[in-house]
């Protein structure tokens, strides 16, 4: 049966092509496939018949309408990604099909626009994180962290230990473990201070030795706590000859000193707050950057765009560079297997940063800081709710709340019935047993005062 997405499926075209091949049926093209392997019946996919565009729209509507999108108020869920507003101009750029239907720019001369845009992404991101080079993207924050760790292990060839703080996102730590067991790397976790919610610097120092290739810390950590010993821990890492990787959220780096300036050797993060959807967790874009250091650059994973000149040296142009690190050239000696990355999401982040500019990125950080502080005060006065959970710490964008006298799951269910979503509940993660009655709450530039007030009054009623 002919189909509009398969233009040569109409009989007259198909027959003309078959004639050119001197055959009468397409099945002859599969004569080299063992007969017993060819399916007798077409597979049972879809609804058993092709659908018209209108039918597929109705079919999809019937399913997707079971999802609930919360707008009033927006979600207060944190834990790696939070709800942020996406400017219309970002969507306008990334829905241009010259961009989104393109392949990886292997043919540079016909892909200059795409290459320049990604060069700009790399450059803007390098500025934001205070490093020299950022690659053209990883899949997301978790795989960026896992790739950074592997990159560091390659630089420190004879060291097999990875030191990771327990204040790093638990799913990032799980990913690193999965990525490590095959090659026999050992992941050692550092305790956090139960009182402050920060990495326990004493435990960090105690576990550092000359076997440690790399340390991984999260700047504003999983609990939303600013790691105010970060600088010291980076210095300690260096003292023991380890590479310091720091994970940070780009949206607050207009306010906070960038990790590159704090001495991090490799920076990682996730670009979701910069104009990307929540997308039920993916796709996003992973940020990975480093200093302009020969040894580090040689081990950098993934694609990198650079500026060059035309062969006649008269014009500036852009092309993929240092490709001898990559799998399509280097095969088993490549720095990573990554091929497809998150190019379009990186482009969205570049547009977002361009729209905000230096002033805007600073102001948006302040707007988030202001909301966090307001929410801390507002939620801090609620009976049977413990806020803050950790003493004397600085919270940015997120913080845990602890319910007393009632189970957090009950409280959460009641909030949901009032169309209010908080999370993740920390009991979701195996290694925070002591925080089993806690949930994170997240506040971004997308939350208004009345949104936060609504959350506070709902919590007040539920916990009364």
């Amino acid at each position: 049966m002919p189909h509009p997405w398969i233009p040569n499926s109409v009989p007259n075209v198909k027959n003309e092509m078959l004639r050119e091949l001197g055959i009468t049926d397409v099945s002859e093209l599969f004569s080299d496939v063992p007969k017993e392997l060819i399916l007798k019946e077409p597979p049972k996919v879809g609804l058993g018949k092709p659908l018209t565009e209108y039918e597929v729209r109705r079919f999809f509507e019937g399913i997707i309408s079971k999802n609930k999108v919360l707008q009033n108020p927006p979600l207060f869920i944190g834990g790696g990604v939070c709800y942020h507003y996406i400017p219309a101009a970002v969507k306008a750029v990334i829905t241009r099909s010259e961009f989104y239907t393109a392949y990886t720019p292997y043919q540079a001369e016909i892909a200059q626009g795409l290459l320049q845009a990604i060069f700009e992404y790399q450059s803007l991101m390098a500025e934001l994180y205070g490093v020299d080079v950022v690659n053209a993207s990883m899949y997301n924050g978790s795989t960026a962290a896992a790739e950074a760790v592997r990159m560091a292990v390659r630089v420190k060839r004879n060291r097999r230990k990875i030191l990771v703080s327990k204040t790093v996102h638990p799913e990032i730590r799980e990913v690193i473990k999965t990525w490590s067991f095959g090659s026999g790397l050992k992941v050692v976790e550092v305790e956090y201070d139960r009182r402050t919610g920060k990495t326990d610097i004493n435990d960090f120092q105690a576990k550092l030795d000359d076997e440690v290739a790399v340390t991984l810390l999260q700047y504003v950590n999983f609990f939303g706590v600013l790691e105010t010993d970060l600088k010291d821990m980076i210095e300690l890492s260096h003292k023991y000859g380890a590479i310091a990787v720091v994970y940070s959220n780009p949206i607050v780096l207009g306010v906070l000193k960038p990790p590159g300036e704090l001495g991090a050797d490799i920076i990682v993060g996730d670009a979701q707050p910069l104009g990307l959807g929540l997308n039920y967790g993916g796709p996003s874009a992973g940020i990975l950057g480093t200093k302009f250091d020969r040894e580090l650059l040689r081990q950098l994973p993934g694609r990198l765009i650079g500026a060059t000149v035309t062969e006649d040296y008269r014009e500036l142009g852009f092309t993929m560079i240092l490709q001898t690190r990559e799998q399509h050239i280097r095969r088993e000696r490549a720095t990573s297997n990554i091929t497809t990355n998150s190019n379009l999401e990186a482009l969205a982040a570049a547009v977002y940063l361009s729209l905000l500019g230096a002033e805007g990125i600073k102001k948006i950080g302040e707007a988030i800081l202001g909301r966090t502080n307001y929410a801390l005060k507002k939620l801090g006065n609620i009976k049977n709710l413990r806020v803050p959970v950790f003493d004397g710490s600085i919270y940015i964008m997120e913080f845990p709340v602890k319910v007393e006298r009632r189970g957090i799951e009950d409280v959460n269910k009641e909030l949901i019935s009032r169309h209010i979503h908080i999370g993740p509940l920390l009991r979701r993660f195996r290694d925070y047993a002591e925080l089993r009655d806690c949930s994170l709450v997240c506040f971004t530039e997308a939350h208004t005062r009345s949104d936060i007030d609504l959350l506070a009054s709902a919590l007040e009623e539920v916990l009364r």
Binding site: L51, A117, E315, T340, E345
Partner: protein, 510 residues
């Protein structure tokens, strides 16, 4: 095809404007609260004023800049992109529109399961359909891309052997013609790569496989059809050899388009299969990503898939974490959901017509091969008398010897004629290679034009090779200097080093 790509002398965004304009407005509703909060942050952790070198632009400047850049990009919606092993098929607009629904893009991965039943149902059905297409027991869409799927497959094989106390199985067999990401993924999973060659007919050399299997063999990574576009007709025999040696078979799904709905990888004996949703199932490539992968497994390996899996308990859909032998998490959250939604719409639309996808893509490729091989200077090297599947690899070795024109020159000349070039210099076993994949969405008219373009280029190569080497001329820019791009002194990976490359630009004065 007459073709002139747009050429804007578009400045780098940092140099777009000499004035500081007003960018997006951010409210200062909470100014008092943010000022208080800032006082709490130790000075060591505060960004210095004016430390951030970023452009300050108005919205119209940003939009014009990126719109102009888009006009200097080339995707499927502009014209044919016959990149081999990339399956650059048309990305249907209905898939784009439905997947951009707020009920897809605005839901949080930690949202309560009761409120995301719609998306979980989509993923569940997609998992089921992919299992049907591969013959697997179970599929998950956890891997964010194809290479990630390969890594997952290799890790599953690794853990399977470890659990059986066979840690000595450290060798992964990979044909010379495999995609580069296969050996790279195998090494990431801790394997040593053992290479096997192809026979002159283009099959994987069975005797070579027999010679290398041992109790060290963990498995084999194969794509079928191969990167030569040939169906591995002895696949069942290969599967027996590997299985009898205690190894497992991994299927690289990059080339599945050719047999979609006709032959199922698990029926061929594969234990674990990866798929690229952005190739075979029509999600767009996004200029390099994001894509989405799937991993499917049969038999014992189904217990090793990464967590979580979307399952159904008869009442509701949920994320299943209770998979005791699982390799663990390969990424945070649940994979690349938006491209998966696009593939779901694609499969729902086509239903049993997926078979037409395979048949027409194979018809297109063979029709192209038949016509193009009549031209001088082209050879197929492997399996000259065999039908191709989804792709064909042309060798310009003869043309190169006779005229000095390389596969790259031919590729650049194709750009001038309005076609994206095929994959070049791959697979490595074919000298001066063009790997051409014409998916089911290419028209006969365009295939004929592509053959004509090759004819014109070859004719020019014999007549005036120097003229050909001056290609491309009709693209935004002429050929780029790869030495300057990569040399230690001039390499320029971000804007802050732009003076390095600018210093070598020649002006009329120099």
């Amino acid at each position: 095809m007459a073709f002139r790509q747009a050429k804007w002398d578009e400045p780098i965004i940092f140099e777009l404007s000499k004035y500081r304009k007003q960018g997006l407005i951010v409210d200062d509703e909470f100014k008092k609260y943010s000022e208080d909060a800032l006082k709490e942050i130790p000075n060591d952790y505060l960004r210095a004023r004016d430390d951030l070198n970023m452009p300050s632009l108005s919205e119209v400047e940003v939009i014009r800049h990126f719109t102009r850049l888009s006009q200097m990009a080339y995707g499927i919606d502009v014209g044919p992109v016959p990149l081999g092993s990339c399956t650059m098929k048309y990305n249907p607009k209905i898939c784009e529109e439905l997947a951009s629904d707020r009920r897809v893009t605005d839901i949080h991965p930690y949202q309560d399961e009761e409120t995301v039943q719609g998306i979980l149902e989509v993923v569940y059905l997609l998992q089921k359909w992919l299992a049907e297409l591969t013959g697997a027991d179970v599929c998950t869409i956890q891997p964010p891309a194809g290479a990630s799927g390969e890594f997952v497959g290799a890790l599953m094989i690794k853990k399977y052997h470890m659990d059986r106390g066979e840690e000595q199985r450290t060798e992964m067999i990979i044909p010379d013609s495999a995609h580069g990401s296969n050996p790279a993924s195998a090494v990431m999973a801790g394997f040593k790569v053992v290479r096997v060659p192809a026979t002159p007919k283009g099959d994987t050399d069975i005797n070579a496989i027999k010679a290398v299997v041992s109790d060290k063999t963990a498995g084999i990574m194969l794509t079928n059809p191969s990167t030569l576009g040939l169906f591995e007709s002895k696949i069942l025999e290969i599967a027996d050899i590997i299985h009898n040696a205690g190894g497992l078979l991994y299927y690289d799904g990059a080339n599945l388009n050719a047999i979609l709905g006709l032959v199922r990888p698990c029926d061929m004996g594969f234990d674990v299969v990866h798929l690229n949703l952005h190739k075979t199932f029509a999600a767009p490539h996004g200029g390099g990503g994001p894509g989405a992968g799937a991993i499917c497994a049969k038999g014992e390996l189904k217990n090793y898939i990464p967590v979580p899996l979307v399952d159904y308990d008869g009442r509701k859909y949920y994320l299943k974490y209770d998979i005791p032998k699982s390799i663990g998490r390969i990424t945070w959250f649940y994979g690349n959901i938006v491209p998966a939604v696009k593939s779901f719409i694609y499969l729902a639309s086509l239903g049993p017509l997926v078979r037409e996808v395979a048949e027409i893509s194979v018809l297109n490729t063979n029709y192209f091969m038949k016509k193009v091989t009549k031209l001088p200077g082209i050879d197929l090297i492997y399996g000259r008398d065999r039908w191709r599947k989804h792709e064909v690899v042309l060798s310009f070795e003869k043309l190169h010897k006779e005229t000095g024109v390389t596969a790259e020159d031919v590729a650049k000349a194709l750009l001038d004629r309005g076609f994206h070039a095929p994959t070049i210099y791959f697979p490595l076993i074919v000298p001066e290679a063009h790997m051409v994949e014409l998916t089911e969405s290419e028209t006969k008219e365009n295939i004929d034009s592509l053959v004509n373009a090759y004819a014109e280029i070859i004719q020019l190569a014999y007549k005036d090779p120097e003229k050909l080497k001056a290609s491309p001329r009709n693209t935004s820019i002429s050929r780029l200097n790869n030495i300057v791009a990569n040399a230690l002194k001039t390499v320029t990976p971000s804007f802050k080093f732009i003076s390095r490359v600018r210093s070598v630009i020649k002006t009329d004065k120099t």
